[in-house]
């Protein structure tokens, strides 16, 4: 409205410059040096990352892990949001409450309970053995299937809430019009509801994806020490190997990869918005 009001953002902007932008700049500078003292400039850290297949296979599996968990979230999150948007106000509150419960419960606690569920003598294995589906306990803990399942549970709210927001704004007359004109429920879903709620789905995908690939606690506790993803890789290089310049380079590569993916998804999201409003 006026200059005086935009000044209200200054304290937070100052904190961000001093404690967010500056650290990232220092990180970039450090990644271009061979040692922490930062005397000579070099690209050696990046060369090392991209010439060693071990490194980029970790990057690749991390990015893929996010895709798998995000797809699982869309598959289950969309029906939840769809049903929620069609429920009474009271039922809606209950459903949203249940959906946000996991994201507010400490991530360490959530992951801990999954260890009890997925373990060799965990609930899933007990049920499978009892049903006779499996004859010996199957390995779920320390496998990628386990990690994907847990990530989907932990990050589901980030998918459901944006879809729900967009879906409750869709004019119900559109669905009625579609049905009056003879389209069935499935056709109405494909041709009306899904295209119109696409911006919410994309927003949900961006949030779940970025949360899944950086979920350090879940990845390390459920994935164990042998499944290495980027966050653990950074941590091991920084604290375990004490190789700060290389850890900095890995961090930068990871951040750039995330930014590219968010940028592409964001562009798709904007395109889908214009599609929704012809």
């Amino acid at each position: 409205m006026n200059v005086a009001e935009s000044r209200l953002a200054l304290p937070l902007a100052a904190l961000f410059v001093a404690f967010f932008v500056a650290p990232l700049v220092v990180l970039i500078v450090l990644s271009l040096h061979g040692e922490v003292a930062m005397r000579t400039w070099t690209l050696a850290n990046y060369v090392k990352f991209f010439t060693d297949s071990f490194n980029y296979s970790i990057l690749w599996s991390t990015l893929l892990l996010g895709v798998k968990a995000t797809l699982l979230c869309v598959g289950f999150g969309y029906p939840i949001a769809w049903l929620c948007a069609r429920s009474s106000a009271r039922m809606q509150s209950v459903m949203v409450f249940l959906v946000i419960l996991p994201i507010l419960t400490s991530v360490v606690v959530r992951t801990f309970s999954w260890i009890v569920i997925l373990g060799r003598q965990g609930i899933i294995n007990q049920v499978l053995l009892w049903l006779g589906v499996a004859h010996e306990p199957i390995r779920l803990l320390y496998t990628e299937v386990g990690v994907v399942m847990v990530l989907a549970q932990v990050q589901m709210p980030l998918m459901v809430l944006p879809i729900l927001t967009v879906m409750s704004k869709i004019d119900p007359n559109l669905g009625d019009a579609s049905r009056v004109l003879g389209a069935g429920e499935w056709r109405t879903l494909w041709r009306i509801t899904i295209p119109l709620s696409l911006p919410g789905v994309i927003a949900g995908c961006i949030l779940t994806y970025t949360a899944c690939i950086t979920a350090f606690v879940t990845q390390t506790l459920i994935g164990g020490a042998r499944l290495i993803y980027m966050p653990l890789h950074i941590y091991q290089q920084a604290i375990g190997a004490n190789n700060w310049p290389f850890a900095a380079a890995i961090s930068i590569v990871f951040m750039v990869a995330v930014l590219v993916i968010v940028g592409v998804l964001g562009a798709i999201g904007r395109a889908s918005e214009t599609y929704a409003r012809p």
């Binding site: 005086a4 009001e5 935009s6 953002a9 200054l10 304290p11 937070l12 902007a13 404690f19 650290p23 990232l24 220092v26 990180l27 289950f76 029906p79 939840i80 769809w82 049903l83 509150s93 949203v96 249940l98 946000i100 419960l101 996991p102 419960t105 400490s106 991530v107 360490v108 606690v109 959530r110 801990f112 309970s113 260890i115 009890v116 569920i117 965990g122 549970q153 809430l161 069935g184 429920e185 499935w186 879903l189 949030l207 970025t210 950086t214 350090f216 390390t220 506790l221 980027m230 966050p231 950074i234 941590y235 920084a238 700060w244 850890a247 961090s251 990871f254 951040m255 995330v258 968010v262």
Partner: protein, 272 residues
């Protein structure tokens, strides 16, 4: 006329059945872990078997002697409180500026303030460690709080900006024309109206800080060990049943807080 109507009903039913089934599966999937933690924490035995062979509160009593865990919990609580206070004060100002301005600078600020939500938090935590190390500081509670504010303030901004954008601008004109100054208008008109959004944001920021691992991992030292990291290390090394009791306590604490916040500001409405 009969056949198509029949087909239509069947189709509507099939869609509902598929979506209700998917929702039910997802809901079980979402809620079961919370319930299982609570039941496991009541076990009477030395192991984490589910279902437990007997129920007792012995592991909750055992927490009374867990000095290290208690110290970590206390640290986490203090850090989360400071983080919330700072995030709310700075976040309210920034929200007012962002919600009422259309300038390019404010759009850029909005993007900047939201970016900690999208960037890998662990990479930021490491960057912060490198940075304070270069400046010659060593990790401390104050620096840890600042790091938490950066990653938690987006929660305050999101809900507060959403509440602000729903306000009717004529309310401010009315207040000004009745002689209310800027501060008076903020305190008597704006603040009461955005309080629910601000409250929900503060709650989310508090929980995010209390639960933060990626930043604390780098900025906390031996003295400032926080609860989630302590528990993470416990789970990673030896599965102590006291961890289950601590987890049970956290679940109860979270549920109680959620219900209070829902009653006070309508948490579920603010998050949509």
């Amino acid at each position: 006329m009969h056949a198509p109507r029949h087909a239509l009903d069947w189709e509507a039913a099939s869609l509902r059945v598929v979506f209700v089934a998917a929702t039910l599966v997802a809901m079980v999937f979402l809620i079961a872990p919370t319930i299982i933690v609570l039941i496991t924490s009541l076990t009477a035995s030395e192991s984490l078997k589910f279902p437990p062979s007997g129920l007792s509160l012995r592991w909750y009593y055992a927490l009374l002697d867990a000095d290290q865990m208690q110290r970590a919990a206390w640290n986490s609580l203090i850090i989360a409180c400071w983080t919330t206070v700072i995030a709310v004060v700075l976040g309210t100002g920034a929200s007012l500026a962002i919600a009422r301005s259309r300038s390019k600078w404010m759009r850029a600020c909005d993007l900047l303030f939201m970016s900690p939500l999208l960037l890998p938090a662990l990479a930021y935590g490491f960057a912060a460690l490198v940075y304070i190390n270069k400046l010659g500081f060593s990790p401390s509670i104050a620096l840890l709080v600042l790091g938490h504010v950066v990653v938690c303030v987006p929660f305050v901004l999101r809900t507060t900006i959403a509440s602000l954008s729903q306000l009717d601008p004529s309310l401010f004109d009315a207040s000004y024309s009745l002689g209310g100054g800027q501060w008076m208008t903020f305190r008597r008109v704006t603040l009461p109206l955005i309080a629910p959004g601000l409250g929900a944001g503060a709650f989310l920021a508090f929980m995010a800080s209390f639960d933060n691992v990626p930043v604390s991992l780098f900025l906390a030292d031996e003295r400032t060990e926080v609860l989630p990291i302590h528990l993470w290390q416990q789970i990673d090394s030896n599965l102590d049943v006291r961890t289950a009791a601590a987890s049970g306590l956290i679940v109860i604490f979270t549920l109680a807080l959620m219900l209070i916040v829902e009653r006070m500001v309508g948490l579920t409405r603010q998050m949509r």
